[in-house]
């Protein structure tokens, strides 16, 4: 795991109890971890750090910004490698943090690790992701060029999430009864093989 030297320096600064007291440390860490919240409207993570809360610390502004940035870097790296508390503690110890601070950090980290990993994985490249489906069954009676058609037809709409876009896009298509039967059969095959995979 690699952290750039600037961040390491800032972390060492934060480790020093004279620069950042344990209470201030706890408050700052809590702020940082709590910033990984879920935006309920879109169901996405929206990391927000309320900067006005940073004014309450007795640390000079520049150092405070550097410390916060280095903590974010550290947390991202820990989550990326899926570190457990032992590895986290070891690293923090090597950087010079007191046991108290280590315990506080580990507690928050354990709580938030999965959410942070979720957030990190939302930045990967992927195909558009199907999240919902709408369907409609119509009966074609006639058209201007052909009467007496009398055919049922399905209109299927897949709601799709594209990475980097907040709005959902749609994939629309029509199909006959036979085509839908084919589609459902294949989807069931896929579901069954996923189930079998889960049982291995």
């Amino acid at each position: 795991m690699e952290i750039n030297s600037k961040s390491v320096a800032a972390l060492k600064y934060a480790a020093n109890d004279e620069n950042l007291s344990t209470q201030s440390f706890e408050a700052l860490i809590k702020l940082i971890f709590d910033s990984f919240i879920v935006d309920l409207k879109v169901g996405k993570l929206v990391p927000k750090l309320e900067t006005k809360n940073l004014d309450t610390f007795d640390v000079p502004k520049v150092e405070l910004k550097e410390i916060s940035a280095s903590f974010y870097t550290l947390i991202a790296e820990f989550a990326r490698h899926n570190f457990d508390t032992v590895s986290v503690s070891t690293f923090l110890e090597d950087t010079g943090f007191s046991n108290e601070k280590i315990n506080i950090f580990s507690q928050f980290y354990l709580e938030k690790r999965e959410i942070i990993r979720l957030f990190l994985s939302s930045t990967t490249a992927s195909f558009p992701h199907v999240v919902d489906v709408n369907w409609r069954l119509d009966y074609i009676v006639k058209e201007n060029n052909l009467e007496r058609i009398n055919e049922p037809v399905y209109l299927i709409e897949l709601k799709v999430e594209k990475s980097g876009e907040t709005e959902l896009s749609k994939v629309q298509f029509s199909c006959t009864v036979e085509q839908l039967q084919d589609l459902v059969f294949k989807l069931k095959e896929a579901s069954k093989s996923v189930e079998r995979l889960a049982q291995i």
């Binding site: 369907w135 009398n150 897949l158 989807l187 069931k188 579901s191």
Partner: protein
């Protein structure tokens, strides 16, 4: 009860058809079907009109009428009885009506094929291929174990243009998708749908 509705001019032309015998009407039908694909040569038209001793314009009107009957018949998917009746009602002789009905029925399928190419075409489903993957790692997150299903849809937009869409989904969404579409499929067998299909003819 489907019927062909002739306007007054067409009714006059029908009466005029009566002055020919069925073999000539048969010839008219043959020429009319060809005229649907390719316009009639005016020289041939004039020659034929001279042989029958009628003005060329009148011959053209009769041929156009028969062509109209063939196209309308295909559009309405008219059956033999309905077609026969429609023509007899406006005064066409029985034997001549038979000849025309035979011609319409012969060409109906082909014409309906042509007409179905003019239908409104939405993107329609052709085929689905799927693949099950397990995501192990990405640049931002290591040590993952996430199952993922890749779906490759083949679509056809009716004008011989194929479209391929590659989508992905996860286990939960795949199950949701499958269940919803299965429900859609079962709707066709419901009482409501059965009643509608039976009663709209």
């Amino acid at each position: 009860m489907v019927q062909l509705h002739f306007n007054d001019r067409q009714k006059e032309t029908i009466i005029f058809l009566n002055s020919f015998d069925d073999s000539i009407i048969g010839e008219f039908c043959r020429i009319s079907t060809e005229s649907i694909h390719k316009e009639i040569n005016s020289k041939t038209l004039n020659n034929a009109a001279a042989k029958l001793n009628i003005p060329p314009m009148q011959l053209k009107e009769m041929l156009d009428l028969i062509a109209w009957i063939i196209i309308e018949g295909a559009r309405l998917s008219i059956n033999e009885k309905e077609l026969q009746e429609s023509m007899i009602i406006v005064g066409l002789k029985n034997e001549l009506a038979n000849v025309i009905v035979a011609s319409v029925m012969n060409n109906m399928h082909l014409l309906q094929n042509y007409m179905s190419n003019m239908r409104i075409n939405t993107l329609s489903y052709n085929n689905l291929e799927w693949r099950l993957d397990v995501k192990l790692a990405t640049r931002s997150v290591l040590e993952l174990l996430e199952p993922e299903v890749i779906l490759k849809f083949d679509f056809d937009d009716g004008k011989n243009k194929k479209e391929v869409k590659i989508l992905q989904t996860d286990v939960v969404n795949l199950n949701n998708l499958t269940n919803n579409l299965e429900e859609a499929l079962n709707e066709i067998k419901s009482n409501h749908c059965r009643r509608v299909f039976r009663n709209i003819v």
